[in-house]
Amino acid sequence: MKSNIRFVNAFMAFYIIHTSQIGMGILGVPRIVYLESKKDAWISILLSGLFVSLITWLMISILKKNEGGTLFEIHEHIFGRLIGSIFNFLIVIYFIAVHYSITISYVELSLTWGYEGVYEWVWVLALLILTIYAVSGGFRVVTGVCFLSFLLTIWLLFVVYRPLQTINLTRILPIMTTTPSEIMKGVVKSSYTMLGFETLFFIFPFIKEKNKLQLFSQIAVWFTTILVLITTVVSILFFSAKELEKNVWPVVSMISTVHFSFIERFEFVAVPLWILVIFPNLCITLYISSMGIKQIFHIKQKYGIWLISIIPFICSFLITKRVDNNYFFDQIGKIGFFLWFIYPIFLYGITIIKSKINTRSRRR
């Protein structure tokens, strides 16, 4: 059954996980975490990164215990076909929601920076067509998109040199002025940005050297954490408290201080370039959800892609206001937090119990 799967190298897991973590979240994360844990936002990020790293380790052990299927297969394996399918369906809906949240938040950003007045559905449709085109190439192309978009956009990291020239160190000092509970709230709030590592659950069967996966996924997770940490710290140092609280996309505002001799306002380049950053996210979420549809309803994945893509397109007529969007992202962040930060722990427990029962029944 699995003979026709095309494998990719283990180090590609780095690009897949990293690029699916980085997306729209990182543009707004400094503010969102700052609202909860103030000056110590960076501690929240670090804790969150630590947590993600632990969960990643847990995920790989779950996958190894279950002989390396996707999460969809694991669910069917553990809970049986019916209940497993219900679980899978929820996960598919989650991924479709994530897909839409990424799309609509990008569209919102793009409408703010230079494209006022364009209808939302135009951009959503364009992005959807791009994504369908990419995903219909299969997992190899999705991985390639992750890899190339990483290469094409990682240099954006170096634009922080400019805000670094006007930072104020006192804005982050003294350390530990917030209560632990506020810091933990910050951890929860940062989840929307850090999420994406859950792709590990679904790419596992495609990886060639499975024993190297742990290493590369840990590198990916920590690389993301460091990137988010850098942006958070720099934005806290760069903006005054009030500015940061009011700026929806502090990172974009920071980029707007950068200019070259041939480009006056760099953020007008950075915002379109951000399509390349979110493109892997879109591809991966669409790919995973179509994979789930295939698992549940046994229809071909290429039809699943089209079926799923209709949903974001319809949504683009309904959920478009800033307030709605904000609520939507918040809810997805929360669900994501419970689904991928908490749920794997339970799943790990269930797997262990299940395997023990199995070994006992085998002995008898």
């Binding site: 180090f11 998109v145 190339l148 200019h259 306002r265 379109p272």
Partner: protein, 493 residues
Amino acid sequence: MTERNNNESLPGYEKIKSILNESPDLNCRKIEAGQVGIHIIFMKNLIKPEILNEYVIKYIEELSVEYLHYTYLMKNIPIEEIKVNLEEQEVISSLLKGFAYIYFLDEKKAFMVNCANPIERSIEKAETESLVYGPKISFTESLTSNVKIIRQNLNDYNLCTDEIKIGERAQKQVRIVYIKDIANDDTLQTLKERIKQLKTDNISDSSVLAQCLEDNHYSFFPQFILTELPDRFIYSIINGRIGVFIDGSPVGIIGPANFFSFFESTEDIYLRWSLSTFIRFIRFFAIVGSIFLTAIYVAAMTYHFELIPSKLLFIIGQSRSHVPFPPLLEALLLELLIELLREAGARLPSKVGQTMGIVGGIVIGQATVEAGLTSNILIIIVAFSALGASSAPIYEMGTAVRIARFPIIILAGVWGLNGIIFGICILMVHLLKLTSLNKPYLAPLYPLRMKDLQYFLIRLPHHFYMRRPLVNRPKDSIRLKERLRNITDLDEF
């Protein structure tokens, strides 16, 4: 030699004449020596009369009568290539290739001798791919001489030149050239199967054959390298690729190709590494610039004035102040004009073509700016992108770039920078999806093979190339068994 008793299937002169529709070229020389009657049938224009006179007719006439029979003559006729065990179909096709048909009336037996006189042009300098350095010789239209060139330069007994015949009506010979212990078997198998599956009545040129063999017929991008340079052909074959010749075409096909192989020229190997690497980077930038620069101009002029620094904006604004068109129209107009000039220059006789180029380039360019139809900044950009597209060493890649530019310019005109990024995404996904003979098109980059990047992205000094590029999956990957020079310590010799 085993002989079949196939007297019935052998046609006589009358039969051949009727099959060949009473062709006036068909001649029959009747020789009668004693009791024996021999017919020598041939096509007048296709044979070399000297060979036929000297080695066939004269030879037969000088023989004494007792030797004049099929068995002796077939064994002793002083011509290198003869055909026996004939069938009617083969007789006709061989006649049309320039063989002479020697028919023994009494014995009702026959054989054919090769007196062909193929039209060949002499081997000349390469024209479409010109090199400053290195061998200048190029392939010709004759398959025999092409194989001869390859054999002469690549003296390896493992060099295979497998023959396949294609074309239902006008049959042509195709030769697949590869080195047996280097080329990958799967790739070879795929290529052979694809060639055998072709059921077309005629393949007019190797570029047509290449298009028929491609993985994706709808792509802008060429999936085989077409070259007229033997040294490039040999370089590719030695690195594990597979070459294809077709009769009557001066261009060899090389596959599997990847995107980056269209940017390497054999001259890169002949020149020093520093210059070659530099030139290769220039080519990449030229191609990228050629695709995107006009589009960026259109996007910036239509939507993103903020991008342009105020000093530059002032200059551009001044030059655009009289232009009545929107930037998209202006850019398309000028791009089409350049393409028109290029096309006219290519079609016209070379003496007139130069004049046309000057008239078109200078007069029209100057006049459009003075008339206020375009800005001179755009003229610079369009000229740059026209230059950039021609910097690809393989002509086909240049044409692909020329075409790929237009959709991106339109996207830029419609959606600004976002449109350009959409274009980049589509291009990226398309290149990722493409394969050439089932091998990934973006090969050393994705799937990433660090060791191959030294072949395709840069050029290092020769002693770094210990292994053949792995993207072609060669069976034998070792090129150098030892380093050219061992690393020595200070003051050691």
